[in-house]
């Protein structure tokens, strides 16, 4: 008797199986696991920067008789660079908005503007590094300057890699257009670019502004 009921229940279960679909976000074109995987990469990158920020924070007053932040930092230059990076964030946003309806030319145009702004940012930063080194404020001078060049240089390197990536995507868009894979790549690059702007908020606050107050 109980056997019969069990068999009946099993048959019913087989007829209408209920699988537990935890995530039905997939299949929306851009709902690929790559997006979340890239996000996790960005979070681990944030940990690298956390270590560099902590190092800078600990060493930020170890001048070894060398120059202090107030003597060497030029805030107008930093403000200019901050503005450039901020504008490049919104131009990338415009590229993403042009991507949605599939407008290849406009996407490329905004990507190009973003890359040029990124290049201007790196250029200003290299100019700043160059003038610091010319003044004798080299990375070897003090622990403060070593930590400064490492932190700001690592951010600049990330921006440079972002520019190279934009260049690659411009070629990809020229050759293949806006197919699903390229949209996904542009989405990852968008997160990368905006993430770098977030890191820069930390840099201009903790390195430049707080350094000048100290």
């Amino acid at each position: 008797m109980t056997d019969n009921i069990d068999r009946q229940a099993q048959a019913e279960a087989a007829a209408s199986p209920t699988f537990h679909l935890a995530e039905d976000d997939h299949g929306h074109g851009t709902g690929s696991p790559t997006i979340f995987g890239f996000w996790v990469y960005l979070m681990s990158d944030a940990l690298i920067f956390a270590a560099l920020f902590a190092t800078f924070g600990v060493l930020s007053t170890s001048y070894a008789g060398g120059p202090t932040p107030r003597e060497i930092f030029e805030l107008p230059l930093v403000a200019l660079n901050t503005g450039i990076l901020l504008v490049s964030s919104i131009t990338y946003g415009f590229a993403m908005l042009a991507m949605e309806p599939g407008n290849v030319r406009r996407t490329q145009l905004w990507l190009l503007v973003t890359a040029l702004l990124g290049a201007a940012f790196v250029g200003v930063e290299l100019y700043e590094f160059g003038s610091l080194i010319a003044e004798g404020a080299t990375p070897q001078r003090s622990a403060f300057l070593s930590a400064f060049f490492t932190l700001v240089g690592t951010h600049g390197l990330h921006v440079t890699i972002g520019i190279v990536w934009i260049g690659v995507m411009l070629v990809q868009l020229n050759q293949r257009g806006l197919h699903v894979e390229n949209k996904r790549r542009l989405l990852c690059l968008s997160m990368f670019w905006h993430f770098l702007d977030v890191i820069w908020i930390g840099v201009f606050t903790f390195v430049y502004l707080l350094g000048t107050i100290r």
Partner: protein
């Protein structure tokens, strides 16, 4: 434009696809949140440098949150909320790393200077 945005968003396909409005709002807020601390520091700051530092840090945290919401589009829906969980977790680790390092090293610096009257610090050359 806004109508097509609404269509896209109604499909739950929100991750990474901000609307024009979210980008513009984020940009304007960022400009304000950047300009005020720069202006404050470049004009000499408040009477107490500690207060200036506190204001600058608060503006930085606010701007990071604005960028996270308006540009990175972190919300409870994207990727089933996992991006938000990863973000919060990373934020906690970042805070522990930075604040913890500063706290410990500050006390090491002040307590382990050679020539301190107390403690077992060796002052022999």
């Amino acid at each position: 434009m806004s109508a097509s945005d609404a269509d896209l968003h109604s499909h739950g396909d929100t991750h990474g696809h901000g609307s024009r409005k979210s980008y513009l709002v984020g940009f304007l807020l960022s400009v304000v949140l950047t300009a005020i601390p720069f202006w404050l520091v470049m004009s000499g700051g408040l009477a107490n440098p500690g207060w200036t530092a506190a204001v600058v840090i608060i503006f930085a945290i606010a701007q990071i949150l604005v960028h996270t919401v308006c540009f990175l589009h972190v919300n409870t829906q994207a990727e089933g909320g996992w991006t938000l969980i990863a973000y919060v977790f990373t934020g906690v680790i970042v805070l522990i790393t930075i604040v913890g390092s500063l706290w410990i090293m500050y006390h090491l610096n002040t307590n382990m200077m050679p020539g301190m009257p107390t403690g077992q610090v060796s002052t022999t050359p």
